[in-house]
């Protein structure tokens, strides 16, 4: 990478992206030993155990759901979209930070992304898996979910291509495919490192199989660079498009509170907002427990805090415009929905959302907050809760009072709803624990090149 002297000057004043004193081999040792180390720390087993229990709870809740049906949930007319869709939108939003970090920041040559992109990409994939589960679960006959795809069938019928719900299927499955490919391609050189360092035959075979014969020749690297640039180019529009399509699920419907043109940009900003909050929620404990403070420095935390602040302000603008347009439009239903959000039976949820997503994150203006780890972690947790509440407000509050007062009805989640929500967090964490156990959570070869570059700067 060509270095601009001015850019270097700017970086000197900031904390480093990697602490000094590391060489190519110590970086490799430190990261690969987490995976290849003989004994895993007891903390890992504890965390994995708790996550796995939550996952089993999900399995139980889903089994009961499939056996009995969606009647076990709190959904009913008029609130036909309850927790399932709230959780779907929440999870899919969380995934967006990974793609933003890995694709857009790669194309923009942001070096600081190196140590967090692997975990963020893994987070994307796991979040999309959690998200993709919910639309299938909320189907009355989930075993017919494949009807959403245009497969050769004797009915001679395509899915309804005019429906954004079908666009969703394509958006989410494309997203999952591209993210998975991107992640896997980025892993190949590191998998080869693990293959070469593995001591047991079984590990050699598994990592060797996944490394697909990587030898690190110049041709390999050339192709690797080309592929990751291409994939980054493919993934970049997805950051915008996926959540735009998700917002169309709402925006193309005529339900007051959903039918607004601001939804696509404000959903995308919200997605990146919650995604970075989730990256922080994961990165902060990881760097602590695995002593990776030298790789994931306060510089990273500071940068992510700034991105959260920026996207949070866009989201706040979205809330403001939603309320403003409701009154400016002079549409009595829009006005009513907005008033109902602010002063209706679910008003507490709305004001919590405003507090969590708009008021509290203003603390991020302070540099001290952005570099104080516990404060940032707490803020990230609050924002994640706030973004979940936002989807609850959009889905439930807009639906529970329809045009006709005769069908107004309150929505309350049942214990199965909660079990599925926390169970999906269990699925996410279980996958994450397996990931940090069996794959390098920081890109080894990119850190190596970062070491060489920072050395060059010092000389």
């Amino acid at each position: 990478m060509e270095s601009d002297p001015l850019e270097g000057a700017a970086e000197i004043s900031q904390p480093r992206v990697i602490e000094p004193g590391y060489t190519i081999s110590t970086v490799t040792d430190k990261i690969s030993s987490i995976v290849l180390g003989q004994r895993q720390r007891p903390g890992w087993f504890l965390g994995f155990g708790v996550s796995f229990l939550l996952l089993m709870m999900l399995l139980y809740a889903v089994t009961v759901l499939f056996a009995i049906g969606v009647g076990i949930w709190g959904v009913n007319i008029p609130v036909g979209w309850g927790f399932a869709i709230v959780n779907f939108v929440w999870w899919i939003g969380i995934g967006h930070a990974g793609t933003l970090i890995s694709a857009i920041l790669l194309l923009l040559h942001q070096k600081w992304r190196t140590s967090i992109n692997r975990t963020a990409e893994a987070m994307t994939i796991f979040a999309v898996l959690c998200a993709g589960m919910f639309p299938v679960l909320h189907l009355g006959r989930p075993w017919l979910a494949y009807w959403l795809f245009p497969y050769p069938n004797t009915m001679w019928y395509w899915p309804q291509f005019r429906s954004p719900l079908v666009w969703d299927v394509f958006a989410v499955s494309t997203y999952l495919t591209v993210s998975l490919l991107f992640w896997f391609v980025g892993l190949i050189p590191d998998l080869a490192t693990l293959r070469d360092r593995a001591r047991t035959r079984a590990k050699q075979i598994v990592y060797g199989f996944l490394a697909m014969g990587w030898r690190g020749s110049a041709v390999h690297w050339k192709r690797y660079e080309m592929t990751s640039l291409l994939l980054a180019g493919l993934a970049t529009p997805l950051v915008i498009s996926v959540h735009t399509v998700v917002s169309f699920d709402f925006a193309t419907a005529i339900v007051p509170g959903w039918h607004t043109t601001i939804f696509p940009p404000y959903f995308v900003a919200g997605a990146i907002y919650s995604g970075f909050a989730m990256v922080l929620c994961l990165a902060i404990p990881l760097r602590k427990f695995y002593r990776l403070e030298d790789f994931i420095t306060t510089r990273h935390l500071d940068n992510m805090g700034k991105i959260m602040l920026a996207t949070g302000l866009i989201v706040a603008y979205g809330y403001m415009m939603e309320a403003f347009m409701a009154f400016y439009s002079a549409d009595i239903y829009e006005r009513y929905v907005t008033l109902n959000r602010m002063a209706g039976p679910y008003a507490a949820v709305y004001w919590c959302l405003i507090a969590f997503n708009v008021v509290v994150p203003q603390a991020l203006w302070s540099r001290r907050v952005r570099t104080t780890v516990p404060a940032l972690f707490t803020l990230a947790l609050i924002i994640n809760c706030g973004m979940w509440l936002e989807r609850f407000v959009i889905v439930v509050i807009s639906l529970h009072r329809d045009f006709m007062p005769s069908i107004w009805r309150m929505y309350a989640p049942t214990r199965w709803d909660w079990m599925t929500l926390f169970g999906s967090i269990g699925l996410f964490l279980t996958l994450l624990y397996l990931f940090i156990r069996y794959l390098p959570m920081i890109s080894i070869f990119e850190m190596r090149s970062l070491v060489t570059e920072t050395e060059g700067e010092r000389r």
Binding site: Y151, T154, M155, W156, G208
Partner: protein, 216 residues
């Protein structure tokens, strides 16, 4: 360092990568072929009945009208299965000692219906009405095939939704003049498309392909 894999792994990995995509495409079509095949639909498979009733003999050879037995086809969703009394209008006089007709006589004596085996079965979630099809110029043989050539009756068509939609999307390919509806020897003319288009307009046939047309 020793090689982890044998040299032949290169070939195997290529085969599995390309094979996966091939499998994906072929795998999509295999269920399609099976689902549309006579193995599943039982189209063109003659059914064994308690009495070997021949539509060929009764219609083509004797010239009995469809409606002599299937009496409600013009008024009802169900074309109607004849009661044993209908059979006995003739068979109390002719072939009255034939052993193969014994189940018919037994049914008449004991006042119990003959248990015919259903040939054309639509799923229960499909609403189908014979009367409207007959009234709009869709002939019996259009769906039921060359009934005058069936010694034992078989279903001529798959009754798959694709088959229904084929005609619902393009009725002009199949519609015939109303006075030919019950003809078992009618053959579509060479200018069927021209005639069909004219009749569609004349009979006010709408291409009904909404879900709720059939799934009510």
């Amino acid at each position: 360092m020793a090689q982890v894999f044998h040299h032949s792994t290169n070939l195997i990995s290529r085969l599995t990568i390309y094979g996966f995509f091939l499998l994906l495409i072929v795998g999509g079509f295999i269920p399609y072929w099976i689902d549309g095949s006579p193995y599943v639909t039982e189209a063109n498979v003659p059914k064994v009945q308690p009495v070997p009733f021949s539509h060929k003999h009764h219609t083509a050879e004797l010239g009995i009208d469809c409606r002599y037995c299937h009496t409600s086809v013009e008024e009802s969703s169900f074309a109607g299965l004849p009661p044993t009394e209908t059979c006995m209008t003739c068979h109390s006089q002719i072939w009255k000692n034939s052993p193969i007709l014994e189940p018919v006589r037994q049914s008449f004596r004991e006042d119990r219906s003959i248990e015919w085996v259903r040939v054309n079965a639509l799923p229960e979630f499909v609403y189908f009405d014979h009367s409207i099809h007959v009234a709009k110029g869709i002939g019996c043989t259009t769906c039921h095939g060359p009934i005058g050539a069936m010694p034992l009756t078989w279903a001529e068509n798959s009754l798959k939704m694709s088959w229904c939609l084929d005609c619902h999307r393009h009725p002009e390919n199949n519609v015939r003049p109303k006075d030919e509806v019950f003809s078992i020897s009618y053959q579509p003319p060479a200018h069927q498309l021209e005639l069909g288009t004219k009749l569609v307009k004349e009979y006010k046939i709408y291409s009904l392909t909404d879900c709720w047309t059939c799934h009510r």
